[in-house]
Amino acid sequence: MFQRQDVLGGLLLVGLGVAGLVFGAPLEMGTPRRMGPGFFPMILSWLLIGLGGIVAIGGAVRAGATASRIAWRPLILITVATGAFGALIDRTGLLLATVAVVALSAFAGRDARPAEVAALAVTMAVCTAVLFVYALGQPLPLWGR
């Protein structure tokens, strides 16, 4: 039952709605006449919990599509590649961050060829430096700050 798309999806919405309530708890509700900062977020969180509940119960009652398997390799490598760019850009600069993101993400696919990836990473590093830093004048640190 917990493999069903709608059960999982509904629970995801309920979870996000509960998070909205919990983290929004310190915000004052106010009155309709003088809406506090918590007024609209609380309405939305309860709506989300309600809608998530409907989706989850609907999925539990009716036989629906099961969620397809997660492809872990792209999921992990793409996320790590993005994280690596974020971690490197301020420390070592655009060139190394580019090499990292291209090299890591290329291996997220099943048909990566090491020599090709190396060539692509170096080419992209040079291209981004020329295009974004010199041609477009974007405020990107080449070698870190």
Binding site: G24, L27, P41, L48, A71, T82, A108, A112, M124, T128
Partner: protein
């Protein structure tokens, strides 16, 4: 004659050499990403947005709009030649377009698609010019309750016309609205959901959200399936025969009318218009058995419709400030970064920008005709680029784009998180596009709700005692009822069968 004066003003802005150049770049980029499967206009515009910040607002908007309608042209090319839609709005073009290609009429199919799109582009540009001023005048009479109800209608419309489960689509919108609450509350100055992270005190950047949901999540989904387009068809002669022309012309006309109407509706847009136009052509045709075997009407109708809708969906966005689809929500976000607030005042206060954009659409359509017909062979070659080389580049541009927006590495991490969320949502059968709509409208909706309730002293009936607001809410209710009721019936039937 006011119209001619306005258009003259528009063309004087649009033919400025810089604007012409960026109109061309936008149309060209749109064609390229339209041809390439795996990257769409939403992701492209998100990626390019930071670069446009150093331009004049009108130049930037001309280019971004060009990418959107250019993608409608390019998307048909891959549908016809390799039976692989470049964009969601050209899925139906595969049905008959590729059949024509297999019969050796690929050139004719491409020409019909491009000419139909061009015709639709010209008509819908004129429609924007004619319909916008009166709509803006109506918009000026709107106050907080009307605006709140209009936004409700816009959001419900997006649900009604979306495919798939209604409840799930509403859930996505509410989630988007909730993400829109992150940051400093403008009224009380209180921090909401910012977890002490400085970058979040101004709210989640909409580029960060859009790139995570559409750029990164799309890569994750694409890497799961292995797509390898095979180029089989020969383009052949470009000019359609007299017989083909006789079938295509009325279909293009019907597609243009239908697409123009569906583009204006909340929730409408290019994809919906192309599906509706295909259904219409099949229904009115005297030879429905030809559909699916290379009927030229099945190319002309949907291709005209998607281009018409892509352009008329600018009408409610520009004149009322209400985006009707995710693409328009992205442009609203882009405009607000430039300090241009879309809405009824834009026609008077930013006349040059508004009419310049409208005029550039016509110029862009002429450019697209040239880019797409004589030069088609070049774009087809781009299909030889394997996805294993494309996805690292797309991810890299996403990273650079998000980072350079605020020179913030935290935003890159947030984008990765939204990528994961988008992937999870897609896996669980949710359509994340309505979320962006909710996200953009969230703060606006809260503000108008607050104002309406202050004026009415906390009396919620203000929304149904004011006639325009009541009418808008009644329409929303009607729309919602029309999609929910058959569902209720179906659930009952299922229950009875068990």
């Amino acid at each position: 004659m006011e119209l001619l004066g306005n258009l003259a003003l528009g063309f004087s802005v649009a033919v400025n050499p810089t604007n012409l150049l960026f109109c061309f770049i936008g149309a060209l980029l749109g064609t390229i990403i339209g041809v390439l499967p795996g990257i769409g206009p939403l992701a492209t515009i998100s990626i390019l947005l930071p670069i446009t910040f150093q331009f004049q607002p009108v130049t930037a908007l001309i280019m971004l709009a060009g990418i959107y309608y250019g993608a409608q042209y390019g998307g048909s090319t891959t549908s016809i030649l390799v039976n692989l839609p470049g964009e969601t709005s050209s899925i139906v073009t595969c049905l008959d377009g590729h059949q024509m290609a297999r019969r050796g009429r690929a050139g004719a199919a491409l020409a019909v698609a491009a000419l139909g799109s061009f015709f639709a582009g010209c008509v819908s540009t004129l429609l924007i010019a004619v319909a916008s001023p009166p709509l803006a005048r109506l918009g000026l009479s709107f106050q907080a309750p009307e605006y709140f109800s209009l936004m409700v209608l816009g959001l419900i419309g997006a649900v009604v016309l979306a495919h798939g489960s209604v409840v799930k689509a509403v859930g996505m919108i509410v989630l988007g609205l909730l993400f829109g609450m992150v940051g400093t509350d403008l009224n009380s100055g209180r921090q909401r959901y910012s977890f002490g992270i400085g970058e979040l005190s101004d709210g989640i950047g909409f580029v960060t959200l859009a790139m995570g949901l559409f750029g990164v999540a799309d890569i994750l989904v694409n890497l799961e399936r292995s797509v390898a387009p095979r180029l089989t068809a020969v383009i052949g002669k470009l000019w359609p025969t007299r017989e083909e022309f006789r079938h295509a012309a009325p279909a293009a006309l019907r597609g243009t009318v239908l697409g123009s109407l569906l583009g204006v509706l909340p929730g409408g847009g290019a994809a919906l218009a192309s599906f509706a136009a295909y259904a219409l052509e099949k229904k009115v045709s005297r030879r429905p058995e030809e559909f699916g075997r290379g009927a030229v009407e099945g190319v002309a109708g949907p291709e005209s419709a998607n281009n018409a809708a892509a352009q008329t969906s600018f009408i409610p966005m520009l004149t009322l400030g209400i985006p009707s689809n995710a693409m328009m929500a992205l442009l609203v976000g882009a405009m607000s970064i430039f300090g241009v607030i879309p809405g009824p005042r834009i026609l008077t206060e930013q006349a040059g920008l508004f009419w310049g954009l409208v005029a550039s659409m016509w110029i862009g359509n002429v450019m697209l005709l040239i880019i797409n017909l004589p030069l088609i062979g070049i774009w087809v070659q781009m299909l030889r680029i394997p996805y294993r080389l494309l996805h690292p580049m797309i991810l890299l541009f996403c990273c650079i784009g998000v980072y350079s927006l605020n020179t913030s590495a935290v935003d890159v991490g947030l984008m990765a998180l939204f990528g994961l969320l988008g992937y999870a949502l897609l896996k669980l059968g949710f359509e994340p596009a309505p979320m962006l709509l909710g996200f953009v409208l969230g703060p606006l909706m809260e503000e108008n709700l607050r104002r309406a309730l202050v004026v009415s002293r906390g009396d919620a009936t203000v929304f149904i005692t004011r006639p325009i607001s009541a009418a808008l809410l009644a329409l929303s209710l009607l729309g919602l009822a029309s999609v929910i009721l058959p569902n209720v019936r179906r659930v009952r039937q299922d229950a009875f069968q068990e």
